[in-house]
Symmetry: C2
């Protein structure tokens, strides 16, 4: 299911943005909501596009590099866009309750927007979900239900409730068209923040990939709307996965037309993109097709590369982010060394989740340093 | 030490804001930085001002109520404003290293902006500081040094380093004038977000209180600059503390001219405002004077009231916040019932820290609900 617009009418209308509306809702004419009063907003969108030249220099990448800070959305992840639009649409449809399946970020986001809307929210999470993410979702007052097995089982439970009880299913895969519509706004913002031009490459951490599809549609719409010349190529969309769970990257590397689900045990610090796609492999295929059609690609990083990239963005940029996000940073080093990134290219890496989402697990990673050692470090530094 | 400006010249100049600059830096002409290239920004400021009418209705408070979402700043707290301005000033002064004492939020913020600036950062934290906050600060690459005893000991250590090694001390108390200057911008934003008017009351969680002093100065400057009529009264500034640590509120209630430090053990879920003010009681006195001069007041909440307010803002608004922040919410119920808030008054509550800052401790508060119970809740809800 996809939402279509009459771009010619919109282009003539001229008033594509309504600056008086909050966050991403200034793009209301390009979003699938009829009435302004149904907007459910917490101030999502309008995230910073931060130039990060020092990090490019460290990687030796001669590019113009930006970070799109989606981790700075209200609930701490890029999922606030689809949740804001999805819950608003549910409100417009007269729903009093929504359901969602999520392995983390989308659960918290949907719970937050449901609370804002005064709706009940039922969240199915895999039993293995990070406690911090469960606590966040529950804190908003959502009914959080752990489900045994992998994410696909939670996905099925949400689908079941949606069908049996008629609750809107906000699960942010291609199941819900509002997801892609909301994710478009990331592209609109990047275009505006670059002063009215497209980047050459956009790099996104990928689970099933709605954000890549949405962003690509956003750039395509800007061209339809005449914001850039009709012959202007769209940005190359690059997706990053973990070596531990890379169903889409595997298909890309094999030159397959179809994505197949990922079997085998998964152990990665990039939980947000740890999705075997069991039962909805076609979502992955759509993402694969987008990466190829855009002239982009799919790649993967090792656990070591992901953790190194996490420390890189935190210590050289000052953004605290979960390892999943950092895959969009680590990918740049690889893409530059492999010659995929051209000299002088404008590159945007999207950070999808805040470091807070991962703090709990860090306790096992960061070695607590004793006071004595700390003082030695201090004295060494002050010599 | 206080920074002064030639308001007449500024008012004539006209160009008070530079919209092309990021976050709070659009107010550069009113900030103590000479050169634009010394700006160290992560996109701080420009936080949402969210109308929260449903919560007002629940409290039965007939007011026009807004939340200023300072917890949505990049590192998760309002301390990003003073850290951005403080580190930028340190950069302009040619410093390569900064030092700070903090019980949490300011540590993470200063570590983040130091990383952004490529400066070393030394952070002294009380040994009892929440591990999550220590992990965040350390993740940015700062040298984090736990100090025994209460916050005052960490404060002394930072002071010592600043004097001995000449490092700029970013400790965000009145010790550092840039703090108050940065905090002014909260007032500018509230004024603009209300469509060019002052709120009647601004409610702020208070440790020593630089945010209250800064915001008050900001409103006062807007009047000096002719943005409001000269006879327009400034907002009443209300400060909130925990019953467990209320040195300033105690002085207010006793009608004292001076604030005295808080002795005795402190046990509160509002760690961000748990400051006994030992050794810098005068900072508290300045805050007390501001609350009185503005026609505002100081009050305190019990632990139960604070936790209830935390759940209120999370489940009725959709903002995940640390209990410290929620004191600005719970205060409204008290102030309305006591008749301090007039019918129809425009009230702004400032949320200072993100709920992520507190997730770790919630594990002990939230009772994990079994799957069976969850399913019962679900079924009850679906009848």
């Amino acid at each position: 299911m996809e939402v279509k617009y009459d771009y010619d009418a919109l282009a003539q209308d001229g008033r594509l943005t309504l600056p008086e509306l909050p966050g991403l809702w200034k793009y209301l004419p390009l979003l699938p909501l009829q009435q302004e009063e149904n907007i459910v907003s917490l101030g999502e969108g309008g995230t910073p596009l931060l130039r990060c030249q020092r990090m490019a220099d460290i990687y030796g990448a001669q590019i113009e590099w930006y970070i799109k800070a989606e981790h700075l959305n209200p609930s701490g992840s890029f999922k606030d866009r689809p949740s804001s639009v999805g819950v608003s649409a549910a409100k417009e449809a007269g729903a009093e309750k929504v359901v969602i399946a999520s392995s983390g970020n989308a659960a918290a986001a949907t719970a937050a927007y449901s609370a804002r809307a005064g709706m009940e929210c039922v969240v199915f999470v895999p039993e293995s979900t990070d406690p911090g993410k469960v606590i966040q979702a529950a804190s908003y007052g959502a009914t959080v239900i752990p489900v045994t097995g992998n994410y696909s089982h939670s996905y099925d439970m949400a689908d079941l409730c949606a069908k049996r009880f008629g609750w809107p299913n906000i699960t942010s895969t291609f199941l819900n068209p509002y997801t892609v519509e909301a994710d478009k706004t990331v592209a609109y913002e990047i275009f505006e923040q670059l002063g009215g031009r497209f980047p050459d490459v956009v790099i996104i951490p990928i689970a099933s990939g709605p954000l890549m599809i949405g962003a690509y549609k956003g750039f395509d719409e800007l061209r339809h709307l005449g914001r850039v010349p009709a012959q202007q190529p769209l940005p190359a969309m690059v997706g990053v996965q973990s070596e531990q769970c890379m169903p889409i990257t595997r298909a890309y590397l094999n030159g397959d037309a179809q994505v197949h689900c990922w079997d085998g045990t998964i152990s990665t610090i990039a939980g947000g993109i740890s999705d075997p796609l069991v039962g909805y492999e076609n979502d992955g295929t759509l993402t694969l097709q987008t990466a190829r059609a855009s002239g982009g690609m799919m790649l993967c990083l090792t656990e070591g590369e992901i953790w190194q990239a996490t420390q890189m963005v935190e210590t050289k940029v000052g953004y605290y982010c979960e390892p999943t996000s950092a895959t969009a940073i680590g990918a740049v080093s690889k893409l530059w060394n492999e010659g995929f990134l051209k000299k002088g290219a404008t590159v945007v890496s999207v950070l999808t989740g805040h470091g807070f989402k991962y703090t709990g697990r860090r306790c096992n990673i960061l070695q607590p340093i004793s006071k004595v050692e700390q003082l030695e470090i201090l004295l060494k530094k002050t010599q």
